[in-house]
């Protein structure tokens, strides 16, 4: 048994980790989707001894079963041991705000990259990410980010011969 308890995020042992029911539900949903998708598949060609739906049926069924088993295990007091790490401090609970902000920065990159191009969004991604993670030198972050993104753009363009789309800077770079 665990004697020292830096276990799961704010979850003392012997207490049901309710969030894990969410994971179990997720597994059941994914498994069910695989099964539903498999049901829409038609018979394969005559030279296909393994039907296209055979593997999805197996995988979907097992995944659903595993979800149920996880729910049972959770109810019986199964608690995950969250991953530790050098930069990870598990004693203080999770800082989901930082994660959410990082996701926002990342989504902005996805939305803007086709328009602005990597040279700009890459710099914003780096500076935004660093800022969210606690860097207070915003001007320097932006400078480093710009150096990285423009540098990698040219590195790929002239060094590797990969023209990353320039976006709005087309013709400038």
């Amino acid at each position: 048994m665990t004697t020292t308890v830096p276990t799961a995020v704010g979850t003392p042992t012997r207490v049901v980790d309710k969030a894990q029911y969410g994971l179990a539900a997720f597994l059941v949903v994914v498994g069910a989707s695989v099964l539903v998708d498999a049901a829409t598949l038609e018979d394969g060609f005559a030279d296909q001894p393994v039907q296209p739906y055979a593997v999805p049926y197996v995988v979907g069924a097992v995944l659903t079963l595993l979800g149920v088993l996880l729910a049972v295990a959770t109810a019986r007091g199964d608690v995950p041991e969250a991953e530790d790490g050098e930069d990870v401090d598990l004693t203080g609970g999770a800082d989901w705000r930082t994660v959410a902000l990082l996701v926002v920065v990342f989504v902005l990159n996805i939305l803007l990259i086709d328009w602005l191009g990597w040279a700009i969004t890459g710099a914003l991604l780096f500076a935004g990410g660093a800022g969210v993670l606690g860097s207070r030198t915003h001007v320097r972050d932006l400078a480093i980010g710009t150096a990285l993104s423009v540098g990698t753009w040219y590195g790929f363009y002239s060094g590797l011969g990969i023209p990353i789309p320039a976006g709005i800077l087309d013709g400038v770079l």
């Binding site: 048994m1 665990t2 004697t3 020292t4 830096p6 276990t7 994971l23 597994l27 695989v34 598949l41 030279d47 296909q48 001894p49 296209p52 593997v55 999805p56 995988v59 995944l63 595993l66 979800g67 049972v72 295990a73 007091g77 199964d78 608690v79 995950p80 041991e81 969250a82 790490g85 930069d87 990870v88 401090d89 203080g92 800082d95 930082t98 994660v99 990082l102 996701v103 990342f106 989504v107 990159n109 996805i110 990259i113 086709d114 990597w118 890459g122 991604l125 780096f126 990410g129 660093a130 993670l133 606690g134 860097s135 972050d141 480093i144 990285l148 790929f156 590797l160 990353i164 789309p165």
Partner: protein
């Protein structure tokens, strides 16, 4: 032998030596960068085949291949971000070693192990290439299928503390592997044409490892600065050498043959090597916390597998990895068809290539051992920069494959999955192997059943397959027996895993309620 000496003569000309250095440096750097692999690099460099001689180009590609195998280990060890799928296993122990302040030893055992394995592997290539064809062609699809099942089974059930979580992770991976139109019909693509080609393993691996790790760290970032571990030139104590040389040789023994076998690739032998070392180690308690054997074995295995892959490519004309497939394309660009006849038709070229592999290997050791501290400095980067940089390079890697913002969306989605997996202690490895081996499993069983015209008994019709299945049964029995011998102490907390490094590791072997 005479031919090999002639090969060295042409490999050691200044021009070819220069191309070998470029290849090794390029290969190591793309191996270090997540998202860019040797296969992609060689593919991008295919245009140089129009302007460079065939020997120079092949020498450079060989350098990229070997360099990539080695370079992936550096980030695996220092950042827990494997640059290549073949270095996924290295991240497990290597990164733990680095976190314990043993990065120098991890890098050293990876570099020297890569050199030893690469040299032995290349020597085997020179010896066996002419005759290896006989060995390889005897294995049929049923045997491959059995071997892959064994790899999946071992990684899922033998590795990791919780078998339930191992299987959850594996089947999530297999689900990801289903996506695409490989069988002729769109499966799990949800009408999205960009999913028709399936989900790139690189995107999944980069997302789960890099993005997942960055987000997980972000959720729990230490607000007070940590003492930075100074990492000097890679070195190993006598004890480290003593613990490393056997895993190097065993890794080579696993990597070389599996690299030559279709579907063996570099991943399977690294997984198998890791498991072997974990089982054979005199320090099993260190596994999962930074055991040097867990770095030495897999790193030797992936370099040896590169040599094995080239054996199959040269001797049979069979590409067994993505990199080998692109190299095959390059050779065809010169009007050459790799295969048994190449040894007769172009002996000089073949032996120059083999000699250049020895050269590339030596260069790797000479160049990378002193350069390792430069990579090691990455750990001293301020944390916001380190993790923002991981997000940056992971995005660049995923984006540069197709220039699709959609791939970045996938990257984020799987990154969030990686975060979830860390939160719920799902092991990452079975998922990645599931993604890599899932399509192959289906392909092999299809091939086997096509040949047998639907007769299922073909799956155990080959001796190798029977041996492998027997091995799986034995492993299963052993697991059940150890589970019975050490029943969980109490009913309620059986699922809990050791959460403290000082805790005895035999708890890991306990069964969890299924």
């Amino acid at each position: 032998m005479e031919l090999l000496l002639e090969g060295f003569q042409s490999a050691l000309t200044p021009t070819n030596l220069l191309f070998a250095v470029i290849g090794v440096l390029l290969g190591t750097s793309v191996g270090v960068l997540p998202g860019i692999g040797p296969a992609m690099t060689v593919a991008m460099l295919l245009p140089v085949t129009y302007s460079v001689g065939v020997d120079s180009a092949i020498i450079m590609f060989a350098g990229i291949y070997y360099g990539g195998m080695y370079g992936g280990s550096t980030t695996s060890i220092l950042l827990n971000t494997p640059g290549e799928s073949s270095s996924v296993v290295t991240a497990i122990e290597g990164n733990k070693m680095a976190k314990r302040g043993r990065a120098a030893q991890a890098l050293a055992t990876a570099a020297i192990g890569s050199f030893v394995a690469g040299t032995i592997g290349t020597a085997l290539l020179a010896l066996l290439a002419p005759t290896v064809a006989d060995v390889v062609v005897k294995l049929g699809a049923p045997s491959y299928f059995a071997i892959m099942l064994l790899a999946l089974f071992m990684v899922t059930a033998v590795l990791g503390a919780s078998k339930l979580r191992g299987f959850i992770s594996l089947f999530l991976g297999l689900t990801i592997a289903i996506v695409g139109t490989a069988t002729g019909q769109a499966r799990l693509t949800f009408g999205q044409p960009l999913l028709a080609d399936g989900i790139d393993v690189v995107v999944v691996a980069v997302a789960i490892f890099a993005i997942g790790e960055a987000l997980w760290v972000a959720a729990h970032l230490r607000r007070k600065p940590l003492e930075v571990i100074p990492v000097g030139r890679p070195w190993m104590s006598k004890a480290d050498w003593g613990r490393s040389w056997k895993p190097w040789l065993r890794g080579t023994a696993l990597g070389y043959p599996l690299g030559a076998v279709p579907a063996g690739g570099a991943e399977t032998p690294t997984f198998l090597s890791y498991i072997t070392e974990r089982k054979l180690s005199k320090h099993p308690e260190e596994f999962g916390k930074g055991a040097i054997e867990g770095v030495a074995g897999p790193e030797a295995a992936n370099n040896a597998s590169a040599a094995g892959t080239l054996t199959a490519l040269l001797a049979i004309g069979l590409p067994t990895t993505a990199t080998a497939a692109v190299m095959l394309l390059a050779l065809r660009g010169y009007g050459l068809q790799p295969g048994p006849q190449l040894f007769d038709a172009e002996p000089e070229l073949v032996w120059t290539l083999i000699a250049s592999l020895f050269v590339a290997n030596a260069l790797l050791l000479v160049i990378n051992l002193p350069m390792a501290p430069i990579w090691a400095k990455l750990l001293q980067i301020p944390r916001p920069y380190l993790y923002a940089g991981i997000l940056f390079f992971a995005s660049l890697g995923a984006y540069s494959v197709n220039f699709e913002a959609f791939d970045l969306g996938l990257l984020l989605a799987f990154g969030l999955l990686g975060l979830t997996m860390r939160r719920f202690a799902l092991p990452v490895l079975p998922l990645i192997i599931g993604v890599i081996l899932g399509p192959e499993l289906e392909e092999q069983v299809t091939t086997a059943l096509t040949i047998s015209q639907g007769d299922v008994s073909t799956l155990w019709s080959e001796p190798v397959a029977i041996v492998v299945y027997a091995l799986m049964v034995v492993l299963l029995l052993l697991m059940v027996l150890t589970g019975l011998r050490k029943p969980p102490a109490t009913a309620a907390p059986t699922g809990s895993e050791p959460s403290d490094p000082s805790e005895p590791s035999d708890i890991e072997k306990q069964e969890v309620p299924r």
